[in-house]
Amino acid sequence: YVTSQQGTSPPSQRGTIKVGFSISETGTFNVEGGKSLAGIRAAAQWINDNGGVVVNGKAYNITLDYYDDASTAGNIVPLYTKIITQDNAQFLLAPYSSGLTAAAAPLADQYHLIMFSHGGASDSIWAKGYQNVFGILSPASTYLKTAIDYLKANHPNDKLAFLYANDAFSIVVGAAAADYAKAQGLTVVYNSSYPATVTDLSPQLTAAKAAGATDLLGGGHFNDGLLVMQQLKSVGWTPSFISLLVAVTEPAFQQQLGASANLVTGPSQWETTVNYSPSAASTAGVTYFGPTEQQFATEYAKFDSTGATYHSGEAGAAIIVLADAIETANSLNTTLVRDALHSLHIMTFFGQYQVDSTGKQIAHAMVLDQWQSGSLVVVAPSTATTGTVEYPYTGS
């Protein structure tokens, strides 16, 4: 257990636990990679500053061994091989995105090392039978669930349009959400995907509007989220409820759209405003581990002045959970830590952690955010809220 008092053993006499990973500092995922990296560094720093990881009475510092993978799958295997066989990392984090994670995962199994996935939400990773790969995130198929639950409970007669990007992640989110909405008895009048390279979405929006849709759910990335919002205006459609992936929770979304961002909602793994706390943990009947929300945010600011996003949170949380698992196992042995990761059910600043037998996350809940008068408010689920949903969206 990490004691909150400093100085159990002076940092100089500590051992080190080397956590290796690659991250996308350049290329397609450079933004997500940068945020993740800062989150990882902040979490590791916090642990080291707060007694390190204690195994058998000896404290260990977490050291990070990482390289830029340039968002390229071809780099993953050489980098992880180097990390494992030459740098001798003891634990691994996965790279960002499920595609890159898939390239790294076989090495974790081959070399019998734990690999924590923090940025690969595709469900398919967990269907491959990896022994040593654990997830921190809610899987993609559950992203829009909270929003649909809200609609089902409050506006069951709305007609839903689903429009989402055709990439491995967004399409799973969109398709699963459309199915879930139908299963909940909601009316889906439009359901379509588009490639990430789209330059004009007005035909889709016009068609969805013509189909009589009242609500719009989907999105994919920042760019197309913005495109959707802009073109809603140009095609003259004001849906009553909008929920878009990824884009909405970026501060830039509101900065760029101004008033028309108001009352748009979006799912998120995490926000700096969620209130997972030791008291929330005891209400939920689980133990709380690691920094509080506030502590993490403070530490994070030292590594990235532009503020944490959920990518920062999920990556940081991976380090925290890993540290707890090592302490729980009271060993650096992969098998023992793996058993600990399987049996652990805890809460961190990022929310709950518990995995099923494949290593897939089952306890963490998505939150639903909504822009309200210039700030992002968590409006669902009830355990994490800081406000309530305002309906309908008005376009200004």
Binding site: G99, A102, L107
Partner: protein, 312 residues
């Protein structure tokens, strides 16, 4: 030409044998590095068949690589075959697609061919997304054991085949005809060369090997993803490699691929450059292109004419 000792071929094969020895006896990290290097070399040789030899710039060459990648990924992930069957299918489809595509696009010259090949890559990306068989968002991932040495010898075999073929095509009847086409296509036809047939032949080889290399690439990354499978940067890297090495030659692609990839990888793992390595790679590419426009083989040819039989 006839009867001349093929020093170049012996030399290249000796280098390949040395690579095989290194891959087998040094650590895994070296092996996987060599796998990547040879994947790039295989791609460079493949584009060398069409662009290096005939001067037809295959801008969208990545499309053949993608065909190979998806062949292997579909077979392995959906039908659980061995990766070798995937490579075979990738090569076959790569070659067939090249024949089909080439029959239409090789009629276009210069920029027209380059862009016709580019649209195929752009269209291919969208078509892959259209069909769920290629996975959600064109992503297929699979889990097979990590066997670096097996992958190494798969790609090694491909590169050896390419070297031998490049060498003999260059030296033989086809090579002479192709050089004529590269200089003056109409005059070549008027001398009895059937330009379409020769171009199709090398384009087919080019597609076949790009397909095979793409399949190995998917194998080595345990999956394929539409946005990276059709990433045009690959095409550009291939072009840069053959330019840097020496277009059309049998040594150039291996030289170019080694330089570009090793430089890139060295920088990637050079801790202080994180995020900035492309500055150095980019600057190096600029400098080489502008100051050594005929590639390393070109320099050697100019500076040390006596080495000609060894490098060509």
């Amino acid at each position: 030409m006839k009867g001349r000792t093929p020093f170049t071929l012996y030399g290249l094969l000796a280098v390949m044998a040395a690579l095989a020895a290194v891959a087998s006896f040094s650590g895994v990290a070296t092996t996987v590095l060599l796998v990547n290097l040879l994947v790039f070399a295989a791609l460079a040789y493949s584009i060398n068949f069409i662009t290096g030899m005939t001067g037809y710039v295959s801008f969208g060459h990545v499309v053949f690589m993608a065909i190979g990648s998806y062949s292997l990924a579909v077979l392995v992930s959906t039908y659980s075959t061995s990766p070798f069957e995937g490579i075979a299918l990738g090569a076959l489809l790569g070659g067939l697609f090249a024949l089909g595509i080439g029959a239409v696009t090789l009629r276009f010259r210069g920029v027209y061919f380059a862009i016709a090949s580019l649209v195929l890559a752009l269209a291919g990306y969208n078509l892959v997304l259209q069909f769920p068989q290629f996975g959600p968002g064109g992503e297929l991932i699979f889990y097979i054991p990590f066997q670096p040495l097996t992958v190494f010898f798969a790609i090694w075999g491909i590169v050896v085949a390419e070297i031998v073929l490049t060498f003999f095509v260059n030296r033989g009847k086809v090579g002479l005809g192709i050089r004529a086409i590269k200089d003056e296509e109409d005059a070549a036809a008027a001398a009895g060369v059937n330009p379409m047939k020769l171009k199709l032949y090398v384009y087919m080889l080019s597609g076949l090997f790009a397909g095979a290399a793409g399949a190995v690439f998917a194998w080595s990354t345990f999956g394929v993803n539409a946005s990276s499978a059709f990433d045009l940067t690959f095409s550009l890297q291939m072009l840069a490699m053959i330019l840097i090495g020496g277009m059309g030659t049998s040594t150039g692609p291996l030289l170019g691929a080694s330089i570009v990839y090793l430089l890139y990888y060295e920088l990637l793992t050079y801790p202080r450059l994180q995020g900035g390595q492309f500055l150095v790679v980019g600057a190096a590419v600029i400098v080489i292109a502008l100051f050594v426009p005929d590639g390393i083989v070109g320099i050697i040819r100019r500076k040390y004419p006596s080495l000609k039989p060894v490098i060509e």
